[in-house]
Assembly symmetry: C2
Homo-oligomer: 364 residues x 2
Amino acid sequence: MYAPLQNDSFLRACLRQPTDHTPVWLMRQAGRYLPEYRATRVKAGSFMGLATNTDYATEVTLQPLDRYALDAAILFSDILTVPDAMGLGLSFALGEGPKFERAVRDEAAVDQLAVPDMDKLRYVFDAVTSIRKALNGRVPLIGFSGSPWTLACYMVEGAGSDDYRLVKTMLYSRPDLMHRILAINADAVALYLNTQIEAGAQAVMVFDSWGGVLADGAFQEFSLAYTKRVLQQLKKEHDGQRIPHIVFTKGGGLWLEEMAALQPDVLGLDWTVNLKSARARVGDRVALQGNLDPNVLFAGPEQIRAEVAKTLESFGAPGAPRDGQVDSHIFNLGHGISQYTPPENVTVLVDAVHEVSRRLRQPR
Amino acid sequence: MYAPLQNDSFLRACLRQPTDHTPVWLMRQAGRYLPEYRATRVKAGSFMGLATNTDYATEVTLQPLDRYALDAAILFSDILTVPDAMGLGLSFALGEGPKFERAVRDEAAVDQLAVPDMDKLRYVFDAVTSIRKALNGRVPLIGFSGSPWTLACYMVEGAGSDDYRLVKTMLYSRPDLMHRILAINADAVALYLNTQIEAGAQAVMVFDSWGGVLADGAFQEFSLAYTKRVLQQLKKEHDGQRIPHIVFTKGGGLWLEEMAALQPDVLGLDWTVNLKSARARVGDRVALQGNLDPNVLFAGPEQIRAEVAKTLESFGAPGAPRDGQVDSHIFNLGHGISQYTPPENVTVLVDAVHEVSRRLRQPR
């Protein structure tokens, strides 16, 4: 059905198999920093107009691949499509973050929640299939969703927040309600990601963007337990291919061992984490993905190359295979790329990752 | 000159000496959640009007002590007084964060920076002396400042930020300029805190509120190194009394060992850190301060008591003294108290800390 994969370095690295370079992709690589993205966005009229139109979603997903030697594509969509399908009414005002029309603030609102009919998310699965075909085997396609906790943050707050007061008030005063929301979210996210896999996604990533705002203890109970519930339901194979699972908790550096115990294939890391130390802590169980500060891309080419080299050298060479497996690193930013990034600086970054990581693998 | 101290539990805990309960104070304990604070604020006309008036600053500093059995007072002021004294023009619009009239964005602006004349901060030192007298020995008084890096964030951004793009652009593209700013800030902060000590502060705290936004590597070079430069210059004694030094890096949980190596007396912790594990990592070298999520104060009394108990039990009992020293814990929030906190819930928290921590010290 699909053309064979020409560059499998990303999937191999996810599964801790040797590669001749460190694969690289960037969170939000299809986005506002690219003039061609902004042009398509204007045609589409709105962010959701872009995300719900198969042709536009395909077009913008492929844009960064035409500019840069990236080793993976990621579905163009939003982390909040699932609660939108639950009927909460997602919208994006220009220049602002996501907003829900109907926030979930009380027991009556929680009573209304259910795992949504996947037909309401058909536009996502259609986009996945269309992108997979358009990729024509160039690189693998990553599907994704927000984590149960991260979805709950937006569902209760109704929008982004800087103190998470409403969602944490519910968590501490009505933990029973919070657990009900999270259980529904987890089952919905698992079904959503499995349907993306059936539609053609070759790896899936759970973005726990707000896990790091939780207190130790609350993180394990309200975020990690439900990420686990997602992972336990996820397909590990499709069409005879292993489907790697990636978990990224921004601000989760203190909890790497607990996240690795859920047995995802890959852990995403933000820039506060030292890669050498993360490798020592969990590198024998999971591949590590990350973790350059996106703000490095505002510096000049020399500094970008130096910071890329520091990141790669901090992880170090993959080492000799044991039972066919190596410690592996997938290069990424520690968070989404900024809309203000000069596009030409991304070329410097991607090329430096390939060049330096090949050199790191040379015998000394 | 001053009345003898009636409650020295906070200072003893800072110095890892045994106490019969865990002392407690709260970051931003004198603040907007208190109706009496809001009344004084109206009289003063503005935040800076409040902070620069000795009588008002004294009044609001003592307000929470009249309501709650707190074990320490903290000077009412702002972390950004030092750059204001450098001439950058600090202001607070109602309901918004701090803002500088003149941001430091280029080499010409950096050339203008210097350690300010401490006379420009006389209002702070006068407030310290006035508060110390008004306390009349009830509890010790903590002085404070923003860290060199945190000051630099505001100085370059001109205000708060959610991506720190401008300050990080300077950091990555002109590290030489960033180092010049930080060196000046460090020397200014050290002089400022030493002058607070001379004016009557019995402990001093460095708030590295934005250290946690830095990448590993950048944190050590641009935040930690300058906190060290401050600590190296700080008075360790005044008037025959030891003056404890407290360092708090929000989001710094991964770097506790490196912070402990600077040999402050106390490390502040945010709520993402597990106290038991922090104690195991550095508890034999420093006292630990923290770390309840301020949002717990939006729950009911039962839940607040339960979360307080969990926090205290996570640290555990102080243990038997070795050479007169114990592992010690100072209870606090992991960040400033929210302006929306119901004041009566703070009573529940403070009383629970005293009650549960006394019980924890009973032989079983």
